[in-house]
């Protein structure tokens, strides 16, 4: 910082920022606390903040219920599968547009972006009917396919902006050095693109993990990921708050960790490079 900041000002902004951060984070914190309470304590009034009987009982119950594990596995397969397939399709496409652009590249990119803007409800009916007729309803493959297509434009865009930042000179140097296109990809481009690839992978894993339109509408039991499993807690009141909290904490913990790692890329990915 070029300027001196008075201590007083620094104290005020620190206190204010921590207060704001705490308020925003509080619902999550409250949920995590509830997950360590007994069911009775979880909806007791007045609520207890820290001085309650800490227990791991809810986590044990949730883990033991086979359906939680089943849905967690579904989440991993669906989010992971759709992200990987999207990457496989997107890497060549983004590579091609970044390093061999034509007059139509810009239009192609914008068109891809516009497919992301089509509201899913607009095509809910045909997709549902197609899935029903092809026996894809409540299958992992069906969800992988639709989430992959839904996120493909974002994946391509993110990769495109990362590839764009790799200096063209370096690829030309590799060509002068006699690298074929295959070797250029293996020895030069891929190592340089790893950070960009990793953050694209991460962000799309998060988006796919949290996707809650297609998963709620196209799966019920067999292929249902955690989003659907958690939603099934919406009807009974009161009785299962602690267990709901434990299941929710488990469902969001891995994604929170990944998300914190990819927070910088988040801006770029979700604004299609409009804000860096």
């Amino acid at each position: 910082m070029a300027r001196m900041v008075t201590t007083q000002r620094k104290v005020i902004s620190t206190v204010a920022a921590w207060l704001a951060g705490f308020l925003i984070f509080f619902p999550i914190l409250w949920m995590v606390l509830a997950s360590f309470k007994t069911e009775l304590e979880a909806f007791a009034i007045p609520p207890s903040f820290l001085f309650f009987h800490w227990t791991l009982e809810n986590y044990i119950t949730v883990q033991e219920r086979s359906d939680y594990v089943h849905h967690a596995v579904n989440s991993i397969i669906i989010a992971g599968g759709s992200t990987l397939i999207a990457m496989l399709i997107a890497i060549p496409a983004a590579w091609s547009m970044a390093f061999s652009p034509t007059r139509r590249t810009k239009d192609t990119l914008l068109w891809m972006l516009s497919t992301k803007m089509m509201p899913p409800v607009g095509v809910l009916v045909p997709i549902y009917l197609i899935y029903r007729n092809f026996g894809l309803l409540d299958t992992r493959a069906g969800l992988i396919f639709i989430l992959c297509l839904g996120n493909l434009p974002i994946v391509i865009w993110m990769l495109f902006t990362y590839f764009k930042e790799i200096p063209k000179d370096i690829l030309e140097a590799a060509r002068m050095d006699g690298a074929t296109i295959g070797r250029e990809l293996v020895y030069v481009l891929t190592p340089m693109a790893v950070p960009g690839l990793a953050s694209t992978l991460l962000l799309n894993l998060i988006l796919a993990w949290n996707e809650a339109f297609w998963t709620l509408n196209l799966s019920t039991l067999e292929a249902a990921p955690l989003t659907v499993f958690i939603a099934s807690y919406s009807s009974p009141e009161g009785l299962f708050w602690a267990k709901l909290s434990a299941a929710s904490t488990l469902a969001i913990a891995p994604i929170l960790v990944l998300g914190w790692f990819s927070q910088r890329q988040l801006v770029r990915g979700l604004t299609f490079g409009a804000v860096k």
């Binding site: 590579w95 972006l113 509201p119 297509l149 493909l152 709620l216 998300g259």
Partner: protein, 290 residues
């Protein structure tokens, strides 16, 4: 020739992505258009017949449509207003020298990574429950009558949950933009005798105009089709009080199995989203030139 080979290869590599996205966009959309002209109910198979624009007439004159359109607009508008009005000062605050900034940042961003069904249920059960929720306890502590959130102010409740989810997004983008603001520009303004407030109005705010536009457009795209939060908290009710267009189409398609009018509704949603998308694509496209 060498570089022509590269170009041919590039075209080949691009094709699968373009073809997939094209099919994904055209086939379902064409089917939606087709279905929207049919009388088609899944509970009454075999009775499909062409009815022209009847479904649109039915959907658009349905009182439920007007109610859900109003709900959609109120929801989008309110969430946008909250996230911007809270997001700008929050971003300005996080742009100051703060001890432990990285931890504060993490706390502020966290809600964005929580899956929609989880945040909706946590708010509904742990915070907004009329008897055992934390808000009810706080109200009693202050000597007020607890609010029965989802019965008395259902739409506001949904809005608060969604605003909480999207506040981090707005803040993060605005913060990123603030950090790219040239420090020397602010110093120059200070040398020119500008007060902190005039610096904010004449330097910072114009700098934020673009990111704010981007936030508004992107949030609008996603908020127009909010679904999971309504699905797990209110189911569109009570009555139609929290039914937005997305939820209305869902209930017509998968609860009443009225394919025809749900498709007509879907097309209406596509048109509304396209109006917003048009402006967003223009902004992003302009950025692509630079």
């Amino acid at each position: 020739m060498a570089t022509q080979q590269t170009q041919l290869l590039a075209r080949t590599l691009l094709t699968p992505a373009v073809a997939l996205l094209f099919i994904w966009m055209i086939v379902p959309l064409a089917l939606t258009v087709y279905f929207s002209t049919l009388h088609y109910n899944l509970l009454d198979p075999g009775s499909e017949q062409f009815v022209g624009l009847e479904n649109f007439r039915y959907f658009l004159t349905d009182p439920a449509f007007l109610a859900s359109l109003q709900n959609t607009l109120v929801l989008v508008g309110s969430v946008l207003a909250i996230t911007i009005v809270v997001g700008v000062p929050l971003a300005l605050l996080l742009d100051q020298q703060v001890v432990g900034l990285s931890i504060v940042r993490l706390m502020v961003i966290a809600p964005f990574f929580v899956m929609p069904t989880v945040s909706a249920l946590v708010w509904k059960n742990l915070l907004m429950h009329p008897v055992s929720g934390l808000f009810a306890w706080l109200a009693k502590l202050l000597g007020l009558t607890p609010i029965d959130w989802f019965n008395d102010v259902p739409l506001l409740s949904v809005i608060l949950i969604i605003a909480w989810q999207w506040l981090p997004f707005a803040t993060l983008i605005l913060l990123t933009a603030l950090q790219s603001l040239d420090e020397e520009q602010k110093e120059a303004a200070e040398m020119d005798g500008a007060s902190a407030i005039s610096t904010f109005i004449y330097i910072t705010l114009p700098h934020l105009a673009r990111p704010i536009t981007v936030v508004i457009l992107i949030e609008t795209i996603f908020l127009l089709t909010v679904f999971a939060e309504i699905f797990v908290t209110t189911g569109g009710g009570p009555g139609l009080q929290t039914t937005n267009i997305a939820f209305l189409i869902y209930s017509q398609a998968l609860i009443q199995y009225d394919v025809g009018s749900a498709s007509a509704g879907g097309l209406v949603a596509v048109v509304i989203a396209n109006i917003v998308a048009f402006f967003l694509v223009r902004i992003v496209g302009r950025n692509l030139e630079a």
